[in-house]
Amino acid sequence: MARSEKAKPREKASGTSEHVQMDALAYSSRMLHWPPLGKLLLVIAVLIVNIMTESVITSLVVMALGLILMAYSTNMRIPFILGIFIAEAILILVIACGIISINGDTSQPCIWSADFLWMDFYMTADSFNEAWLVMIRAIAGITMMMAFATSTPIPHLAQALRQIRIPDEICEIIVLIYRYAFLLLERLDTMWSAASSRLGFTGFKHTMRTTASIAVGIFTSSMNLADKAQVSLECRGYRGYFPIWNRPKKTGIGWVAIAVVTFALLYILGIYTGGVIDFAGLAFGV
C-alpha cells in the first residue's frame, strides 16, 4: 500500500504539429532567459550589417555566429522537421543564385555560356561572385533568424515589441493569436485523423471535399471560440485592456552596447575584406 505522492508521474501535454514543436523548443532553449529585446537588437544589427556589407567574409562570420547561437540555444537538438525546413530554404537559394550567376552583363568577359531553347546563359566573373555573395548572405540571415526563433517564444517577442513602443493592443493580439493557434491546430489534427478514419482522402475529388469541410469546421470553431472567449473575458473582470503582470526587465545598456559593437566590428571587417575571396577565381581560375 505504501507510496508517496512523488511517485506519481506527471501528466503530459499533447501536441504534434511543427508549431507546437517550435514552441517547446523555444521554451526549453538555453537562451530563453536572455532579454528578448536584447536578442532582437543583436539580431537586427547583425542582419543589417549582413545586407550592407560587400564582403563574403562578413557574411560567413554572421553565418558562423548564427550557427553557434542556434546550436547553443537548442542544445544541439534541432528537430528533424526544422532541419528539413532549413535544407529546403537553402535549396531554393541555390537555385535562385544559379539564376543570378547565369544572367551576367554580356559586355564583360564570359567564363561560361550556353544556349538553351530561347534562353541565352551568360556567366561572368562578377555575376558568379555576386551569386555566391547573395547566397551566403541569405543563409547567414536565415541562421541568425533561426537562432532568434528557437530561443524566443512568441510571447517574449511580444514583450520585446512592447518595449520598443509598439502599441499594447498589437502585442496582445499577437499573444492571443499565438494562444488560439494551438487550439485550432489541435483541432485540425483531430479532424484530419477523423477524416482519414472515414476514408476522406481516397482520390482527388474526395480529398478536395474533405479539405473544404475541415476548413469550414476550423472556421466555425474559431468563431465559436471567439464568441466564448469574449464572455469569459468579461467574467474575469476585463476592462478593455490587457494588464501585464510580468513586465520584462529593462534591457540593460549592455545589450545595446553588444549590438552596436557587433555591428561596428562586422562593418569594419566588411570594409577591409571586400572581394578577398574570388569565387570565380577559385572555380574557373579566371
Binding site: 477524416a195 472515414r198 481516397t202
Partner: protein
C-alpha cells in the same frame, strides 16, 4: 474463448519531436465479440492507440495485426481496414463533414465508392439504428449535442464495421442521453459488432465491460476482468482512477456481513438481488416489431389484473414510442428501472425491440446468479 480480432505486438509510438513514447511496447489483444473497455486517465494514450487500430497512425516500432495478419499500410489495404474498423471520436464536431444529417452519414460509404443503392440502404439502416430518421434533412449545425453524438455514431455504422471503437462515448452527455448511447452500444454488441470503448468513467466501464485493458502513461498495465483490476487499490490509484461505486459497495457490504464478494454485481438490480430478497412482481416482456399500440398495454394490464409500470428498451421502440404517444414510465434505462420495481414487488411490462429479446433473456439469466429468479413472460404483441 473468443479469438482475437486485433492484436498489437510491442507497439511503440512517438509523436514527432517528442522523445517520450506515447505508447510503449503495448501488447493488446482485442477479442471478437467481447465487450472491451480501454481504461486510463487523460493522456494515458487511449486515443493514440485507437488511431493505430485503423491504421491512421503508423507505429514507430512493433506491429498491429488485424485477424492475425499484420496491417499493410498500402492505400488499398488501408481502405478496406478502415471500413472494417471504425472509430467514433469523443467530440462529434471533429468528425461531422456533411452539411445535412443524411449527407454526413453518406460521407463514409461514398468514400468507399459503393453503388448509390447500397449507400442509400446503409444510410437508412444507420439512421434507424441511432434513431435520427426524422432529422435526415436537418442541417448538422442545428442539431443538439446529443444528436450530433448519435450522428457521429451513425456515420461510423454506415461503414458496416466489424469493430467499432468509441472514444469516451458518454462524455458531455446528459444522464439520459448517456444511458441511451450505452443501450445502443449493447445492441450493437448483440448484433455481432465488436464494440471497444475507451473511457475514464469507471462506473460505466464496470457496468459494461467483459474485459478491460488498462493504460497508464502509454504502457498497458493490465488486461483481464474488471474485478481483478479493482481489487488492487494501489494499481487503481496509480492509474488515476477510482474504484467503481458498485464494486465498493459490494465489497464493503460483503466485508461487513462476512459473505463472499463473488459473484460481483455490476448493476443496481444485481446488487439489490444479492443483498435483499422479497416478494417479486411479474416481469412481462412485449417485443415490438413495427408499431406500438395501446392494446399492448391493455393486454398486459389484463394479464396481471392490476396496475403496471411500463418500461422501454431499444432504439426502435423508442422512436415508435414518439409516434404512438403511449404513457410509458421509463423511457430510458428501461430494463434497470423495471427490474428495480419488480424486485420491490410491483408488476412491470418491458416493451422492447424484437431483436433485443435474447439480450433481455441473457440479462435475466445473469440475475439468477445473484439469487433473483424473476417470473418473466414474453407476451404476444399481435392483436387477438
Amino acid at each position: 474463448m473468443n479469438g482475437s480480432v486485433i492484436d498489437t505486438e510491442k507497439l511503440t509510438f512517438y509523436y514527432e519531436g517528442n522523445d517520450k513514447a506515447s505508447l510503449n511496447e503495448v501488447d493488446i489483444h482485442i477479442r471478437r465479440g467481447v465487450k472491451t473497455v480501454i481504461l486510463g486517465a487523460n493522456g494515458a494514450g487511449k486515443s493514440t492507440l485507437f488511431y493505430h487500430l485503423n491504421g491512421v497512425y503508423r507505429p514507430s516500432s512493433g506491429k498491429v495485426m488485424f485477424e492475425g495478419e499484420p496491417i499493410s499500410y498500402r492505400r488499398k489495404a488501408l481502405r478496406s481496414l478502415r471500413s472494417r474498423v471504425s472509430v467514433v471520436l469523443q467530440n462529434p464536431d471533429d468528425q461531422i463533414f456533411g452539411q445535412t444529417v443524411e449527407s454526413d452519414v453518406a460521407y463514409g460509404p461514398m468514400n468507399l465508392r459503393l453503388p448509390e443503392e447500397e449507400v442509400k440502404e446503409r444510410v437508412e439502416t444507420a439512421l434507424r439504428t441511432v434513431g435520427l430518421t426524422d432529422l435526415r434533412d436537418r442541417n448538422t449545425f442545428k442539431l443538439s449535442y446529443g444528436q450530433r453524438k448519435r450522428l457521429a455514431l451513425a456515420g461510423a455504422l454506415a461503414m458496416k464495421p466489424e469493430v467499432l471503437v468509441m472514444d469516451e462515448p458518454t462524455a458531455g452527455l446528459d444522464p439520459q442521453m448517456a444511458l441511451e448511447l450505452m443501450e445502443l452500444a449493447e445492441q450493437l454488441h448483440h448484433s455481432g459488432t465488436t464494440v471497444v470503448i475507451s473511457t475514464h468513467d469507471v462506473d460505466l466501464a464496470y457496468a459494461w465491460a467483459d474485459e478491460i485493458h488498462v493504460l497508464r502513461y502509454g504502457r498497458l498495465i493490465f488486461s483481464g476482468t474488471s474485478e481483478e483490476f479493482y481489487r488492487d487499490p494501489v494499481q487503481v490509484y496509480m492509474t488515476g482512477v477510482v474504484q467503481p461505486s458498485m464494486f465498493l459497495i459490494n465489497k464493503s457490504l460483503c466485508d461487513m456481513r462476512g459473505i463472499e464478494e463473488a459473484p460481483y454485481p455490476r448493476t443496481e438490480s444485481q446488487l439489490v438481488s444479492k443483498m435483499a430478497s422479497g416478494e417479486k412482481g411479474r416481469f412481462l416482456i412485449m417485443p415490438v416489431a413495427d408499431r406500438m399500440d395501446s392494446y399492448m398495454l391493455d393486454a398486459a394490464v389484463d394479464e396481471v389484473g392490476g396496475s403496471i409500470k411500463v418500461g422501454l428498451y431499444g432504439s426502435r421502440s423508442r422512436s415508435l414510442l414518439y409516434e404512438s404517444g403511449l404513457p410509458v414510465d421509463y423511457v430510458f434505462d428501461g430494463f434497470e428501472s423495471c427490474m428495480a420495481d419488480c424486485l420491490m414487488g410491483k408488476d412491470v411490462l418491458l416493451l422492447c425491440d424484437e431483436s433485443c429479446l435474447d439480450l433481455i433473456g441473457s440479462k435475466l439469466d445473469r440475475l439468477r446468479d445473484f439469487g433473483t429468479d424473476v417470473r418473466a413472460k414474453v407476451m404476444d404483441p399481435s392483436k387477438n
